[in-house]
Amino acid sequence: MGPLIPDIISGEFNFMIALIVGIGFGFALEQGGFASTKKLVGLFYGYDFTVLRVFFTAGITAMVGVIVLNHLNMLDVSIIYINPTFLWSALVGGAIMGVGFIIGGFCPGTSACAAATGRVDGWAFLLGGIIGIFAFGEGFPLWKDLYLAENWGPVLMNEQFGLSREAFGIIMIMVAAGAFVMTQIIENKVNGKETRWFKPVIIKNAIIVATPVLLVIMVMITPNRTEVMNSRIDAKIAAGECNPEMMDADKLAYELMNQYYKYNVIDVRSPEEFAAFHIPTAINIPLEDMSEHANLDIVLQNIKTNVFYGANIYQSQRACMVSKYFGKSDNFALKLTANEFNKQYFQLGQINFEGSKSEVDLLKFRKEAGEKLTEIGESVANLDKPVEKKETRVKGGCS
């Protein structure tokens, strides 16, 4: 499951990867003609749109790739780096870069390519770039306010338009395809060539455009892993195959009092409900989040027995099914709901000694269990918690 860094590949190896990635990046840029300033600037005077074609094709390829990998649960888009939006600095900075582009004829990455292939103007641009960044650093207090104004955080384009990632992807593909056709016409006009449309070329290009569109549509219509799981579990429940082993509350209380460390008590309600009351030693994994990567690690450990409970019996049974679906066999669903458990052990009040002896014994046991469990809960609260995994976003960007 991507991204592989930092969990799967260590940070030290990161630099090796940077070098390899850079070689691929430089190779692709040079092959695309980005090391030639005339080809780059051609885009703005209409005589050569190569750069736009390479750029948009690259962006679309990567974008569709991200959509597909996300759908296959191979890439966690919630933690990849999204450059944050600072509205004014993005617009003003972009405008300054635009002027720099037309005067200097490069952008930083392409000037590095040009420099590597022996272009003196590439080296000059590199030098200029460093001077510009130096000027920015020296005068930073002057534009600090502009730099930090209108911080919107890492917002996404599709969120801004209220669309799904996939729908926006299709729009982007269409925009790119339109741009490719338009720029071809403009380029031919500027260069005094006649624009002619040959049938085989049209068919070939239509297929090329249709491929990413179909990929995205496939993503939209096929269910992802969680949806497949839910529909299979629904089918099983409908077929009456939902009969996980149930655990009696008194049994659980007894076991927790004597060997709590053998049990993984999981509360599948919402965090708010969990905060209001939970069985001591229990951890909280809301039912709908259970199939998430980090949570599955806890559910599927093979040392402890899982005991699920929730706001109702269906929740805990379903949690058993999810756990079983992913391959854990040692699951129990608690016979009582969270509220019933709370009442039965923690809100007994004064014991009424008028019942039969076995009833009184049971009540005494429950009262004692409640007190002991609270005690255990308090003492293990800090010891036994799963290590909170920091879900930091990957750092990145150019700054």
Binding site: G2, L4, I9, A18, V21, G22, I23, G26, L29, E30, A35, T37, K38, V41, Y45, F55, A58, G59, T61, A62, G65, L75, N83, T85, S89, L91, G93, G94, I96, M97, G98, V99, G100, F101, I102, I103, F106, P108, G109, A116, T117, V120, D121, A124, L127, G129, I130, G132, I133, F134, F136, G137, P141, P154, V155, L156, F168, G396, G397, S399
Partner: protein, 176 residues
Amino acid sequence: MSEKPKKYMNPYLAGFFLGFVLLATIYVTGRGLGASGAFKSVMIQAVNTVAPEHAASTAYYADYNASNPEGPMRSWLVFEILGVFIGAFLSAVAANRVSLKLEKGPGVRNSTRIIAAIIGGALFGFGSQLGRGCTSGSALSGMAVMSFGGIITMLAIFGMAYMTAYFFRGLWIKKQ
């Protein structure tokens, strides 16, 4: 060079290849590509070496050095740009395109081109810091992950370049 330079790769194929590199980068590292950040590392290293007191007393450098305790050159982007140099050189060697030369528009003097490149570079460097990324880090990588900031930066770069292209046409195309 006795042989003629080879033609450039089909732009759509090159774009596909570039997109694939970008996708692999996102998959492995969780972040996109970049370029201007490496320039910044070089600049800060230079300031640290030449004027260490100035670097220590100015908040901008001090903050950067505090958040990069291993030194500015030990950064992901520096290694990546090192790779870009190698990759571009290899590609140009393979296609017979390595040559020491100055590329410029018709009728433009060498000195004019060099000065324009330095000024353009300076503007781009400045803008990339203000906009938190250049065409690679902000525009291209931003497009791949659909970052709103990245895409508006891209529109601003290309929009402004188109708007001002007319005034600088003397640098690039024959005067009519």
